[in-house]
Subunit: 327 residues, 2 copies
């Protein structure tokens, strides 16, 4: 009888799983790894969020005239139409030069604990000025950029409004503060995963729920956890075709060779292609490669389908940003 | 007494002018030259305007993956943040190449009777495919562009919805029809000039009204008239620094050498720099040059101020376009 009653229990559990009802224990486990995305990331004490700064940051984000060619802005590679990224393998910048790395999305980037694939900047303020100056990206010196902005009455007004206590508000540091502030508004709450974690059982499909279970059990969750689904840490792996030494370039530490910051999985379904050189276009292939490299595991087709379905549950509501009218 | 009463009359007229009241005759004269901008331009019989086509055209307009580099779209040079143009002298395209001509705005382009500076295409349908293929602009063959679009389920759906009777809707001709349809929605009604012409005396400042009077009296209106403030015709002039033969390249007719289509003056204040090579940045300078070249006239500083003020009365309400979510 014991066998039979165990059989019944298993059947009952299978039924419960098929119906998608997570047990209280299971939900508690999920909540220990995952967290619904807050509407805003932490705001640093030295850069308070104000409407004036957001507004100025939005203008600067879309401003191509702080590039050497006059046609490349932050929004060129971090394109709002393309998940705030570019959906090509590697970034194309000044004079059509192709960079070494795939453009990371700006979405939810305020939740990351370091910026760039190699984490060389601690925050968005540190990140913002890099691409403006990089000769293969926007290719403009900060002093030229500041001079250009100073030509416009409209910018003089907006900088003064955003930094009212600064006697000379049009400065590179303030460009960074404003862009970072705008970027902290670009978040994607209310994904199916978020709604599920908040108690809406119907927010995820059965396949997504199976994928979530597997995501936890297989160990993906070891690195992809927290509100942004990243540990913001660095991990080595061998990506076919990549010679990029990653974190090692920053630290010079052999241990960091070929290590990259765990990318956020938020909106991963709409921010293809994948990995530091953007060489993998399909999410299935990306998940398979991660399973093999990080977990030593070959997922079955069904498992891959479920994991990919779960990735789709991480697509949130896109921010609705109005294109600014630049001077 | 006659002298005195004439003096009184003149004073009364001056007062009326200062208060900005146009006489009935004057308003009739204005209305013979100018026309409030309609909300939509003429829609060609072979390309009816439908919501599905507008929507698809908007996607294609913002789509950089139909360019050789994958990062240049129509919206790169016809940037909604910059008056649907680029505010640099000459267009920058594929690989950072600089074209020969200034990017014309897309705004109200459906009202023009020919397209491009040299008028080589009769309509927006004819215009749309040019920049995609031009090696210094987007640099992609139409067959590659069509192949690329065909990869996306979302585009297959949108093309089928926009062209329901076409068994193979993803075709270059339909790309042109959709983009042209979207562009016909990009109009800027309700400028101060439009409101003034509709009877709102307070819509223009006194300086703008003086500028309007002078614009008519000096003869600017001979070429800049009608709803788009252009005769859509070709006129020769000598632009310092330009060797561009203009309309001659199209017709081979000596008479057309250095002739360009009269540009629309709608939104001229926000679509600098000016002329076929974008060599003139200031609207004052542009108006002065036109006075000298086309009318043989040196405007005084006051006249220039008034004419420029009148140009600002031609800035209409910008279309609010939501950035599409591309697949």
């Amino acid at each position: 009888m014991q066998t039979r009653s165990r059989g019944l229990m298993v059947s009952a559990m299978a039924l419960a799983l098929a119906a998608g009802a997570a047990t209280a224990d299971e939900m508690a486990e999920y909540k220990s790894f995952f967290e619904p995305l807050p509407f805003l990331p932490p705001i640093p004490a030295h850069n308070s969020m104000t409407p004036e700064k957001i507004d100025l940051g939005r203008m600067l984000f879309f401003e191509p005239r702080i590039s050497g060619s006059g046609v490349i802005s932050c929004a060129t590679c971090h394109n709002p139409a393309l998940g705030w990224s570019d959906r090509i393998p590697r970034a194309v910048g000044h004079g059509g030069q192709v960079g070494e790395r795939n453009t990371p999305t700006v979405l939810n980037s305020g939740f990351l604990e370091s910026q760039f694939w190699d984490g060389r900047e601690p925050d968005l303020e540190g990140q913002a000025l890099g691409p403006i100056q990089a000769d293969i990206e926007m290719n403009m010196s900060l002093s030229d950029a500041i001079d250009r902005l100073n030509e416009f009455e409209v910018y003089r007004k907006h900088f003064a409004a955003a930094f009212p206590e600064d006697p000379e508000p049009i400065r590179a540091e303030n460009v960074a503060l404003a862009i970072a502030t705008f970027e902290r508004t670009l978040n994607t709450p209310n994904s199916p995963l978020d709604r599920y974690l908040r108690g809406d059982e119907g927010a995820m499909t059965d396949s997504q729920k199976s994928g979530m279970r597997l995501f936890v059990d297989a160990g993906c969750v070891a690195c992809h956890n927290g509100p942004a689904l990243t540990d913001s840490n660095f991990h080595r792996f061998e990506l076919p075709g990549s010679t990029d030494e990653g974190r090692y370039v920053v630290t010079g530490d052999e241990f960091d060779k070929f290590a990259f910051r765990t990318p956020t999985l938020r909106n991963v379904a709409v921010t293809y292609p994948y990995f530091n050189n953007g060489s993998v276009e399909s999410l299935h292939d990306a998940v398979q490669l991660m399973g093999q490299q990080m977990l030593g595991q070959d997922f079955t087709d069904q498992e891959l389908d479920d994991l990919v379905a779960f990735m789709h549950a991480m697509t949130g509501e896109m921010p609705r940003v109005e294109i600014p009218a630049l001077p």
